[in-house]
Symmetry: C2
Subunit: 244 residues, 2 copies
């Protein structure tokens, strides 16, 4: 065997041993699950089960299992907690300051999810799991407030360019509902005429020739997201066109 | 002590024990370090030191240390490998399929970095570290090709909206160089007049009233990035204005 290759093999051997010191971290996933109800943007939280955070709310998450891909874990968490499959989920970032978890070194990867609160398969059975209005959340367990804010920032960026917002709505919706939802996410009031013009330009919607009923205002037209844009899986957004 | 609080404490205790099974993962960081030279976009690679990947190139990375924040590790790697401090670095995502690393369960967090290849403090001492033209890279060790592509995608998205591209250029540059760089990153040819109009609209540059010298073409004006936009640290991009 050539000396060079032998040297490499030896290096690899010795590295394997010294690296054993490093295999003592746990990885969790945390999900920021957004929903929309009564004109309010909400997230799903659970009472923390750690004594250190007694009575504090935390994100829905779990440690990843030895035989589980990182990106599979949040789907499992969502399924367990809400009964939903095929939800929209996207990785946002990983958080790993040294002392963020009282049980040891735990690095967490955060995902954001958009679900329709009224989805017929939605089943929340745990008494400790509740929807909270984003605006009212002052504090969370761990660094979950910071994680929530990073996910909210990502959501705000994405709803402007990509047709992801529709994951939060029922299949049929009015432009009034859509505008309410954009306003709740972006935290600003939008001009009605201007909003409708911009949405029309995006060419995301099909007019389904039905009207709202049972509403306390003049019934509006109903729309659906165009079929070819429907995708509950994380959107593989194509590279932006060069707008430079 | 109230029963409820006691129950919580007990749950926390038992969880701590069962969770020990999970503390057996290692975390690494991998850096996709972009540079620009002779009209080509390049990345810095190192010969893999693992026998499994003998003679393959890999990203520059390392395991995170027990007393090191996740987001500090890539700065350490950059400093060790290039001599550079204060580089532009941004977290892109974490990669964690079960069998991605031959030494055990290793999840890696990827960062992209933009550096000026001609930086006077740049010092690459390791013989196994080299710049490679992106276009020529067919294969890398581990899942590093996939990681490189995710970072390239992020780079392409960001250079359009945020003034990050200037981290790849010397302090003074011509619009011709800037256009060459955009073309190398986006992989498309841009119209010269249109490009200059769009760049002017962004209001990123100061005309410093100097001309190129020693160039094989008609000397162009030199520009600098506006001082208030200079920021080698990861840009905290503000939430996008609501363009809806």
């Amino acid at each position: 065997m050539p000396t060079e290759a032998l040297k490499k093999l030896k290096t690899a051997e010795s590295e394997k041993i010294s690296h054993l010191d490093y295999f003592n971290i746990a990885i969790s996933v945390d999900c920021v699950i957004f929903g929309f109800e009564k004109k309010e943007l909400k997230i799903l939280l659970i009472k923390s089960d750690l004594a250190e955070f007694a009575n504090k709310w935390s994100l829905l998450g779990d440690f990843i299992k030895p035989a589980e891909d990182l990106d599979s874990a949040p789907y499992r968490v969502l399924k367990q907690r809400t009964g939903l499959n095929d939800v929209f989920l996207q990785q946002v970032g990983s958080f790993g300051t040294i002392n963020r978890h009282p049980s040891g070194r735990v690095i967490t990867t955060a995902y954001y999810s958009l679900i329709n609160i009224k989805h017929h398969q939605m089943k929340i059975t745990d008494n400790e799991v509740h929807w909270h209005m984003i605006e009212t959340i002052k504090e969370l367990a761990f660094d979950h407030k910071q994680i929530m804010e990073a996910c909210l920032k990502r959501l705000r960026e994405q709803v402007v360019d990509e047709p992801v917002i529709f994951n939060l709505l029922p299949e049929k919706f009015s432009l009034r509902e859509l505008q309410d939802l954009y306003q709740a996410i972006l935290g600003i009031k939008l001009d009605r005429r201007n909003f409708r013009k911009k949405i029309a330009m995006k060419n995301w919607l099909d007019d389904i020739d039905e009207m709202e009923d049972d509403v306390p205002h003049r019934p509006g037209k109903l729309y659906k997201l165009k079929t070819d844009l429907k995708n509950n899986k994380p959107l593989k957004s194509s590279v932006k066109k060069a707008k430079v």
